[in-house]
Subunit: 326 residues, 2 copies
């Protein structure tokens, strides 16, 4: 393991995303790209779904966490890694830390999903509980970092993480270079910004669109305002997309993304169910926003070749939204 990347002070280039791909290749799944003739017929377009729900840890998050962990030098990794995500990044970081025999500490607000906590434990992570406020999360993480010497790995606002997330689009565009439009979910912006860098470098004419829930549309508002807005209180079933757009991801999105659109809760749940029924894929609500935007007409994709990244499949099977909603 002597290919550690130095921490960089600039957004990753295609070169750095390719280096990330090489670094993580032995550990990540090269996920399949699947198609559905019946959804194609419904939409009058040709869709390709990059199935990151089939990634290790059940989400694309393992790519970024893996790249960050493998990029740390021996001194940095010796103290372990830490984060305060309560979602897919937490489990992904624990899984990645295990690759180097390192400790992973997850600061998790009391009342977090039992399913997510179980995943952290299954991957050997240690949970440090805290109060469910942003301040408590950040404060507790700072304490863990200071007292225990853990290296913090943020869920998205980190260039190593962004480079790792970009490897999914890299695989997608290598396999299907003829696409017209790339659509990804948008929460903190790690997946979208990494994907957009790849798209701009490889296929400058490719349109790149991010989709967020209307109930967590801080990125759309931030783009309109020209600065990150902080007054959006996220309310959405898509738990992976409640995060605020990042300081590092926002400028990449401003510069490399064609549009950001928002979709309703109802259309997210409908698209999620369609993916389960027609494609036989367990996807979480966050994964469904891109298809939801096409089905709802928020993106016009008629006649086009469209690639969608299905971001993850970690969902509580005892609390499916169409069952709970009845």
């Amino acid at each position: 393991m002597n290919d550690r990347a130095a921490e960089t002070s600039h957004a990753p280039t295609l070169h750095e995303i390719d280096a990330a791909a090489t670094r993580i290749r032995p550990y990540v799944h090269h996920t399949p790209i699947l198609h559905s003739r019946s959804i194609d017929q419904d939409l009058g377009a040709h869709l390709s779904f990059k199935c990151e729900n089939l990634q290790r840890g059940g989400a694309f998050k393992f790519r970024g966490a893996c790249n960050a962990v493998l990029s740390l030098d021996e001194t940095a990794i010796a103290g372990g890694v830490a984060t305060h995500s309560s979602g897919n990044h937490a489990a992904a970081l624990c899984l990645a830390a295990g690759l180097r025999g390192a400790r992973a500490v997850v600061v998790m607000p009391r009342g977090s999903s039992a399913v997510k906590a179980a995943a952290v434990r299954r991957y050997g992570g240690e949970i440090v509980p805290c109060d469910p406020t942003q301040e408590a999360r950040e404060g507790t993480l700072a304490e863990v970092v200071a007292k225990r010497g853990c290296h913090p790995v943020p869920p998205y606002d980190d260039y190593r993480v962004i480079a790792g997330q970009g490897t999914a689009a890299r695989e997608l565009l290598a396999a299907e270079p003829e696409i017209d439009l790339l659509v990804t979910p948008l929460g903190g912006g790690g997946l979208l910004s990494g994907s957009a860098i790849v798209a701009r470098a490889l296929l400058p004419k490719l349109r790149v669109i991010g989709v967020e829930p209307a109930g967590a549309d801080d990125a759309r508002r931030s783009l309109a305002a020209g600065r990150i807005v902080t007054d959006v209180v996220p309310r959405t079933v898509a738990d992976g997309l409640r995060a605020r757009i990042g300081q590092l991801t926002f400028p990449i999105i401003q510069c490399c993304v064609d549009a950001v659109v928002a979709v309703s809760e109802e259309s997210i749940i409908g698209a999620m169910r369609l993916l389960w029924e027609r494609m036989k894929l367990v996807v979480e609500p966050s994964s469904a926003v891109a298809l939801a935007a096409l089905l709802a007409g928020a993106i016009d994709g008629a006649g086009q070749r469209i690639a969608i990244i299905l971001s993850g499949g970690n969902v509580d099977l005892d609390a499916l939204p169409w069952v709970a909603g009845r």
Copy 2:
């Protein structure tokens, strides 16, 4: 389309299964083979899952139906095709008939699953209702065949169908020839018999095991008795495995399969849920019997390389067994 196979009076050989693979190749999905490190760890074995739940129509059944429909000459196909399956074969046959612009008529007992009926209609099939008895189903089908000139395509007891089903194992063994054990679900026996023919021809030392629900274990009883037993009343959540072993499939299973084992309803539902949670795959209960047999210890696979065919993913998302069972 001048590669029609003559109807044969002998069980398909590898040569005929290869001919079927060539015939159906433009129309079927070459389904992915997926792996789960966490399930491997739980079992202490290396598992490969051939994902026929991701096949067109949501099940391996499209392979056999497609081969049968493409094998018919112009005169035979002119009158359309018919069957009395109420399950995955019915939808698969409608989809296959559409490839040749032919009519498909499905005799379906009143009270059949609304989801299955909707799939038949979505693929352009015509439903002829009948009483929910075996006699009514066969009688109504005979009437459709006689009066309307449809060609009957049975769900499994047909050498063209068996040859088509064998193409899934053919793809699997071509991709992963190093396996020790092949496990498939067992209902009417089409998938198991086609798979066993391929295994025997390609890898004589490969063990082949069929798994059926304990509540529909007519094949196990039939093997013990040395003849097809007809007094098993199937009671199982695995609706795809309620069919009785066939006249044509039974001798192939007697001759080419190493063992048939049975699993409880509880273990089927548990394995199904594990496939959803860990592998993010929507599979129907029938698909889960092979993994259930390994998890329950009905098959000893410790330390081995094991391939499983996940047969289908057509399930009513409003009636999941772990929700209904609470």
